[in-house]
């Protein structure tokens, strides 16, 4: 299919809407966060496989990598990973329920509940990762 200038303009507009937070509501933020965390989790899956492949190079290589991951910067990334996973999961439940036509009138309350659960899980994860 030939892409016209009109199509290219439309693509630019679609992308710019993602980067334009003005006038948007909780639902859009949840939608954008769900997509970003989803992409992040897929990227992490591949990164995880690459990291695991270090085992092929023997115990010494693995131990030195584990030592690197005890650095606070990597521990902060771990907290971020748990938070992303928790958000994607907790937000997924309202998306599935509301998207099936259930509890539609409660969609905002469901999002707020997902946010509260996310905060709790992230807090517990941070305490366990840094002080556990």
């Amino acid at each position: 299919m030939i892409r016209t200038e009109r199509d290219r303009g439309r693509t630019r507009r679609r992308l710019s809407r993602w980067l334009d937070p003005r006038g948007r509501h909780l639902g859009t933020w949840a939608f954008v966060a769900n997509r970003l965390t989803g992409l992040g989790l897929v990227a992490y899956l591949y990164l995880h496989l690459v990291i695991l492949s270090t085992l092929l190079r023997g115990p010494a290589a693995w131990d030195s990598l584990v030592e690197l991951f005890r650095n606070p910067v990597f521990m902060a990334f771990d907290v971020l990973l748990v938070a992303g996973l928790a958000f994607h999961g907790f937000n997924g439940l309202p998306v599935a329920l509301v998207g099936s036509g259930l509890l539609v009138d409660r969609h905002k309350a469901l999002l707020v509940a997902a946010g509260i659960l996310l905060a709790l899980v992230s807090l517990v994860a941070a305490v366990r990762i840094f002080f556990g």
Binding site: G9, R10, R14, S16, R17, R22, G23, G27, V104
Partner: protein, 250 residues
Amino acid sequence: MSATPTVLLRVFRYRPGDDAPHYDEFRVPAGPRTTVLDALLAVRRGLDPGLTLRHSCLHGSCGTCGMRVNGREVLACVTRLEGLGDPVVVEPLAGLPVVGDLVVDMEEVFQRLEPAGRPLVRTSERSWTERSGPATQGPVLERLERFEDCLECGLCLSACPVAGDPRYLGPAALAAAERVLEEPRGADPSKVLGWVDDAHGAWRCHAAFECSAVCPAGVDPAGAIMRLRRRLLRDRLPRLIGRYSREVPA
């Protein structure tokens, strides 16, 4: 005597053939009841007669002056400048091709609405049409027949985070389809259900609810889409379970 308060408008400008859009600034008088459309018309009268905008009724019932003000989709004729800050940024609706300045091409909006069978004409109205003879039939009358409540202003399409994709039917068309299913008035519900039961139909919505938040007529397209999905699931599940029980031996 105190000076008349003014507001700075930052207005999106684009003409076909321009390399890129830009923003022009106009300072306009702003009283407590001045609307965005009043201010834009003042710009056109006194400062820049070339400013392109579309409007008709001036009281929020025709839906032609839809645009984004400070990033939010509104009808300019019923949106007061008061409380919007300074400057006020005025832009055309998103996701639709810009014809010029604040005017977008609405053809896609109407095309998406058409297959819903959106003209919900009551029997009495149809009788009137038939009685009126050929002079009142044809294109003019077709334009007059409208989906109840929906102004066809396109605000929902602009606010929807996924409606930039022209394959997606969009909130207005899906809400119209749901209305047809709710009250078919002679329409074929299975045909409408088949039309919306598609990856780019009811299932494309991501439940951001922006369409319902900006709808000036209270149509609640997002709620309608979710009701459509519930109906589709209710129809689909027994078929899926039936197929599973036939195909999988006990």
